[in-house]
Symmetry: D3
Subunit: 238 residues, 6 copies
């Protein structure tokens, strides 16, 4: 039995509130149960130096947690003077995932920065960030298309991310914090609409796992990502 | 005429949503028009080294803005590896202001950290932070009293903060971003219920000012702080 | 009674030694009693990037204390790898104050950096810094005028700064370290010749204060700033 | 055809030279073709603060590249003043992987730090690091057992790591730098002797991939890890 | 001919003003011509962790230049966030030199920090620092002896430092900035009263040099150090 | 008697393996007994900003130790976020020494960076670094000459470095770690073929020394440098 009473293949409630931050070109507040992340997409004409003059754009991600997003207060990274390895790892994953569905030629010389700031954490913050960032990016790109700054839609399709894990010996979908803390294995899947894979990261925590387990986790992830993509579409259609 | 159409002594709409972040001992989302700040109060038993063993507590503040809280995206301080002078100045002001209404003996060996994170900025973020942090602190202290961790209420009274300024030659209350950007002088007042002053910071921007102007700004600030204290009480009574 | 035996409206002895550092375009050693600050004005043609090409100049301030300027040795900020919040707050105040009396158009594309280095501290280091920096700036600008690098004098007038506070219930002028450590309120006033205000910062330390007290502190500040401006003129006329 | 002329399931030559650094409790120079990494295992009695007093040990990893390990010189991280996100990600992976085969209770209050320093890079540096670090750790633990510092062997079994990828449409084993630079997908597998999985990280670079491709990469990885474990055993038996 | 008109073995005027900073246990303002350094000796009971509990003391040095001590303004190291290699090299030299004349057993568990802050630079700042720091240390130790904090004098004798160099082919004593900038070789000698050597650092700048040249520079250094020690004695006897 | 059984003027075995790192324009693994350093020379067309457009080149050095090069593991400087004073002092020495034998005009607008990474330390790492870096630089410059990137050989001659010291009262050549730890004085000599001096650094550690001792150390250094230069020539002739 899961602490939340959910069945093994049951997601938490997803909500996506678009245009949450008025200054950003695209923004959402995305929630997976008690996990809440503000995702903004900022469009700038200034590219990183190594990207300039190629007629192509760039997409990058940043991630942070408010100090009291978690059960106990964490020290502010700006106060410590550096970002943790965990933060950097997640930032790199967000950028890489979103870039996998963007045609940089069609984006032209624009940079889109996806800022994912967790205001309340209950497991799955990196996957919620990616799923929400896609909507923020979609809104920002719609703006560029609407004002004629780009001609063709550079976004190739939806992308969604979800965590699964082996909890008390059973593969389960969409780990919350309690499950995540004691899972034997914990896997993040980043999937495209239609089932192609952008990234899999599956890590043994308490016990190593076998190929069969990996495949069962992937099956759960497909269920979850389908529901996330439905929620993305629904949020955009409002 | 003010860009927002407000009269000279008219505040923006204030809203204070309590218990906004579930993990924090006290929290609010406070809005002054389009300025929105999440304030959390975290209670810890661990004091800074120089405060230990005195039987007294400590109250401190931290402040940050999400990168896209503003019109153009700002670089993340955690990525730059240091907090700006502006951030540190505001943090010091938040801590000093809140400490001015707390009896540290009665608080006992507890530290309360007030994290003020601006999610959307439209002028007056530091004063909204202080006004909201007081409510978050009140909620956290109520929790300490309720569970018997402290015996007597250490909070001596309300504190509220507001910015005023001279805009187009006229003293006005509660500057928004457009006004703030072109004000001749800009003053932050931190006042107690009943009118005592905790801090005044009044700075000439475009033009220096005289004593008469300072007094007129203070009069506006009293109007604003009364309304903020009313909003604090109303939020807590829900 | 004040520890120094001074009357409530009595300043410490002021001395200003001009051209103290031979390499600087302008420099002084300013003393307020035992508080001693070396202020240099450095003129450079290189402006900060965001100021270039506007035909205007810029004035900025930096501040530091020698490690043993104080009663107990403080750790060197260069060794700690960052400037404290207090240092940054003071630097920003110095720059802002001095800019309030400079016409940036008339200064042309020159940057003046005012370095204020406290070699011995006994209270009031930031106000001594501002009062001394003005003289250093005046000397540097005289040099620019003399060699024809600028045509019109960009300095609009004198500026002086002084701290006042409520000590043992009495408003007093020009706090020394002993008074400052136990004052109930402590206020810094930055005033122009003739009485206009550039900045007021008045902070409750032990007890909050009322409007009447603020006005009495301002009256003391006017007495002090008049004397400082007299000392500035006298130093320059030598 | 692979640039090196290797067949799809062909590894580069592996060599493992034990006791390469005389001061370390365990050390190797491991080579996968032109990729060369010095791995040392350092045993210390001092645990990180949060691990002390539990009667358990800890295993952690660090990673770096010499500035000229690569085709063009990279700036030294010590000179930049921080470790890149890539470095931190790899360090975390090394520590996590090695911990998955150690019983911390049996290790007792010892910390083993695995330093992996790449002296020449040609693809696969993180997987070579893990494969080499295991041997260095084995040597260090043998030393602890030999001198009676621990009673039971805390190492549960071999661990090996290899990268595979989809190069020109074909899944291939043990990517070298040229292949890695243009692979469509690139996956790191960390496997135990017998086939259990410690970690899978499979990332789309040029094109997303499907489940079938992931399984084919895993099959190649099993071939590679078997050969690495054979090489580990052979190096230790000398 | 030297730019200053001095003969090859002629020092600049030396002045040493004792008790220059009232808070420090020992202090001087030392000048070699236009080079001026404030040296303070601070006595603390807190030793660095690795020195504690041995019944011995420690002597260490720190060094900095005010930003405008030099012809053109240098960026403040505290603002850059790190000390330059040059600064660290000089600090290490100051500490090492002063330690060479102190008996750490006799000093007992006291740490003396010698802060050398250059307020005006014209060549030879590191040697002036060492020569002045010795006097500051002497004053601080006299204080410890006077109040009975230590029983026996831990200072074994005078130490003095001077730079010499080969300027236009001729060995000269006490280089000023103009000479230093174009010297072929530049050597710092740190000598004890009586002629023993604590340190020699002789560096080819424009041209390498031979043993004969080194010996001639040392002969000049002996002349200089004798005069410095005479000045140290004279300053202390006032 | 020396711990190693060597006679006073006896060097440790020197070995120099050229082309040790395949990507670098020049490289060696140099050993002095158990001290082993990888030296690479990297040629870049990008000069530091202050060197550009003069038609001249630049030579610079960097230095590091692997964490477990030493008896006990040292913390990685990249993890600490800064290079130690010792590291910076050695880097500056390497660059300065190598520059003393290069004609920057003939080098043209090329920068050569000499990276010296100690993989195993047993005393004399800085002198081994300089002696090895010269060979790496020679190889890199030979490459530039071979491909016609420069016309004339900018290298003026060999340079070699060695440490000597006073151990148990006797001047000895090429200190190993045990000797270095307890030497009374320790001197590094950087000499050209033919005997000219590039740099001498002679430091009293336990006891000060006299001119006679300095000269005897220099005599030993000449013996050592002759042998090093012979080894350099032999390595290059292979």
């Amino acid at each position: 039995m899961r602490p939340s009473g959910r069945s093994a293949d049951e997601m938490r409630a997803i909500s996506i509130e678009t245009n949450y931050i008025k200054h950003a070109e695209g923004s959402v507040l995305i929630s997976f149960g008690d996990t809440k992340v503000i995702c903004t997409a900022s469009v700038e004409d200034r590219l990183p130096p190594w990207m300039r003059g190629k007629g192509e754009g760039w997409v990058t991600g940043e991630y942070s947690m408010l100090p009291r997003a978690t059960h106990t207060r964490g020290q502010r990274e700006a106060a410590k003077g550096k970002q943790s390895g965990r933060t950097q790892e997640i930032q790199r994953l967000i950028g890489r995932s979103l870039r996998s569905v963007v045609d940089m030629k069609k984006l032209g010389e624009h940079q889109i920065t996806l800022d994912c700031d967790v205001i309340q954490a209950d497991g799955g913050t990196r996957t919620a960030s990616i799923s929400g960032a896609w909507v923020a990016m979609r809104l920002a790109v719609d703006g560029l298309l609407a004002k004629g700054a780009i001609k063709e839609d550079p976004i190739k399709g939806h992308i969604a991310a979800i965590s699964c894990g082996i909890y008390n010996g059973t593969p389960v979908l969409d780990l919350d914090y309690i499950e995540d803390s004691s899972a034997d294995a914990d896997a993040n899947f980043i999937l495209l609409e239609g089932g192609q894979i952008a990234e899999v990261q599956a890590t043994a925590e308490g016990a190593t796992y076998d190929e069969e387990a990996l495949l069962r986790l992937m099956r759960l992830a497909r269920i979850g990502c389908d529901q996330i993509i439905t929620a993305q579409k629904s949020a955009l259609s409002k």
